[in-house]
């Protein structure tokens, strides 16, 4: 069933990046190293998107998650030097995170992997959908009344609210006392 071709080698490499990066995130005591491992892990995720014929999502993953969010995380960590070195790997809430992690894993396994693979792995290569979507399809889907225009609008409303909140918090309050 498992044949060794370029795609499976690539899958293996990306899996190592994702899992290795994720392990690095939770085991490194240095927060900057943790953030860099997170980038490695996200990069592997972008590789998976390429393997799944979704290059747009791969580019967005690199641009948004690595190019913006991960860099902002590093920036925030750099600004708080006292927090850079952690003395303990786990804190008092480790059992809560363990429950959430296991629950998420079970949910993904039952809801995503099982329907695709079948109970005994009989249909391993069956795609979820026959459509190969292009960027044009994605763009139309986001503004089409029958598809995702409502979620799209809700998401943009949420982002606008978040932006206004960020501006309000970051505003220099000493200036408006004078005005």
């Amino acid at each position: 069933m498992l044949e060794l071709n370029a795609q499976s080698i690539a899958f293996f490499i990306f899996s190592v990046l994702v899992l290795g990066g994720a392990i690095g995130v939770v085991t490194s005591r240095n927060l900057i190293h943790g953030a860099l491992y997170l980038i490695v892990s996200l990069f592997g995720g972008a590789g998976f998107f390429v393997l799944l014929s979704a290059p747009f999502l791969a580019a967005v993953q690199v641009l948004v998650y690595i190019g913006a969010i991960a860099i902002l995380i590093i920036f925030a960590v750099m600004l708080t030097r006292s927090m850079t070195q952690l003395r303990e790997l786990v804190n008092a809430q480790w059992w809560l995170s363990a429950i959430v992690g296991i629950a998420l894993f079970v949910l993904l396994a039952v809801a995503v992997i099982l329907p695709v693979w079948g109970v005994d792995g009989t249909n391993p290569n069956q795609p979820v959908s026959d459509d190969i979507a292009t960027i044009q399809d994605l763009g139309v889907a986001l503004v089409d009344g029958n598809q995702y225009v409502l979620p799209f609008e809700v998401a943009s409303l949420l982002l606008t609210a978040a932006m206004i909140g960020a501006i309000f918090i970051a505003r220099d309050t000493s200036v408006d006392m004078d005005d």
């Binding site: 240095n30 290059p55 190019g67 991960a70 860099i71 590093i74 920036f75 750099m78």
Partner: protein
């Protein structure tokens, strides 16, 4: 299956005929292509540094390198040898892995861009569906490399440089991406090759000059060159993020900076100046390559002269220029252009896709150009009024130091 004619043009069939496994032959051919595409900028950079030094020298009334080789053209080969044989020093307290990885990642982020640069109608590393998004994403990794270098050096100046990187490069990415939307809308595709084909009748710099101008400025900011070279401002940060690097690792950062500047102008030529397009380019692909290089040089040389003549901005000036001038203009520009392109399409004066005739593009060009002139006039008016207001305020403060209002303003500041 193709037949083997010669090793250069039909390499895969020739290798297969010679008894190589077809998959392996494919792999070897792709590998050679990758090596070729990534080696070209590395060799080119030696020439680029020489050109830059010569031009900077002329601007400053000097001769520049003139000893090694004719016109000093081999000076950088000698410099490269010097950099390679220099001692490689890692500062005490540096984070070794991150410190050593940073120059490599910086180099990668630029070389990877070359994968989607169309050199001719047939020669392109890979014609990605999302070419424009790809090079935006890849160049954002460069930010990460500079931050890694600044943090791992264990040096306060390097760290300050790294802080500035986030402020500068992330900020200038916003107008960079927003203006790129205009050529993408005009071409109806994100593939770099399609964008060049879309400019066969008319270059986008004529259709959308404001986008081109903002893209050029944002490019200067993205590459971190004067007047935006705040991340390595010598007079403030000694050398910024690369202060602790020595030998070839420093050389990599330096080469990366020159290569990035050239690559940015290369992208400008691809997106706004018609890329490889020129008379006879479709018949003789090499001509296309030549046209692309000439166009890139035409926009590259002014950026060198700018670098040698314009003083460095202050950090706050640079950031506020980006967020208060470039970003609003580029948002307005995208909205107006999207509207005009739609109007042109509905009115039926848009050229058919793939139309190569210059006259067929004229109506749309005139409409979009007028839109651009409108935006430009509005922006200039607003900027002039804002500038006048600022000057008046400054004058008031100087002229009436005892005035109660101006005093309170001074205190508040």
């Amino acid at each position: 299956m193709q037949t083997c004619v010669n090793v250069v043009e039909t390499m895969v069939p020739c290798l297969v005929q010679g008894g190589v496994d077809p998959g392996l032959a494919q792999f070897i051919s792709i590998l050679l292509g990758v090596v070729l595409v990534s080696a070209f900028p590395l060799v080119l950079v030696i020439l680029l540094i020489w050109v830059e030094r010569k031009i900077a020298a002329r601007v400053q009334d000097r001769i520049g390198p003139n000893r090694v080789g004719p016109w000093g053209i081999l000076q950088n080969v000698a410099d490269a040898v010097k950099l390679i044989i220099k001692e490689d020093i890692t500062p005490a307290g540096a984070d070794r892995l991150v410190y050593n990885a940073a120059p490599i990642i910086a180099m990668l982020s630029v070389i990877l861009i070359w994968a989607v640069v169309p050199f001719s109608p047939v020669h392109i590393g890979v014609d990605l569906d999302i070419g424009v998004l790809y090079f935006t994403a890849v160049s954002s990794i460069g930010t990460l490399a500079i931050m890694m270098a600044g943090w791992s050096s264990n040096n306060k100046y390097a760290l300050l440089g790294a802080f500035r990187v986030v402020a500068q490069l992330l900020s200038y990415e916003v107008p960079f991406v927003l203006t790129l939307l205009v050529p993408v809308m005009l071409a109806g595709s994100m593939s770099t090759q399609d964008i060049v084909w879309g400019q066969v009748g008319m270059w986008y710099i004529v259709v959308a000059p404001i986008s081109a101008l903002i893209f050029y400025i944002a490019n200067l900011g993205e590459t971190g060159r004067a007047p935006f070279d705040l991340i390595e401002a010598e007079s403030e940060l000694v050398a910024g993020y690369n202060i602790e690097y020595s030998g070839m690792k420093f050389g990599l950062f330096m080469a990366n900076e020159f290569m990035h500047a050239f690559t940015a102008n290369l992208l400008f030529a691809v997106v706004f100046l018609g890329g490889w397009w020129g008379p006879g380019a479709t018949e003789i692909p090499f001509l296309g390559f030549l046209y692309l290089m000439i166009k890139t040089t035409i926009v590259y040389i002014p950026s060198l002269i700018l670098r040698a003549t314009i003083p460095r901005l202050r950090v706050d000036q640079m950031i506020s220029f980006n967020w208060k001038v470039l970003v609003p203009i580029s948002i307005l520009n995208v909205v107006v252009m999207a509207l005009l392109i739609k109007i042109v399409q509905v009115a039926g004066i848009a050229p058919a896709p793939g139309e190569t005739d210059f006259l067929a593009h004229l109506p749309m060009t005139v409409v979009l150009l007028l839109g651009n002139v409108g935006i430009g006039a509005g922006v200039v008016t607003v900027l002039r009024n804002a500038g006048r207001r600022d000057r008046m305020e400054a004058q008031d403060l100087v002229l009436e130091p005892n005035d109660e209002k101006s005093l309170s303003v001074t205190v508040a500041h």
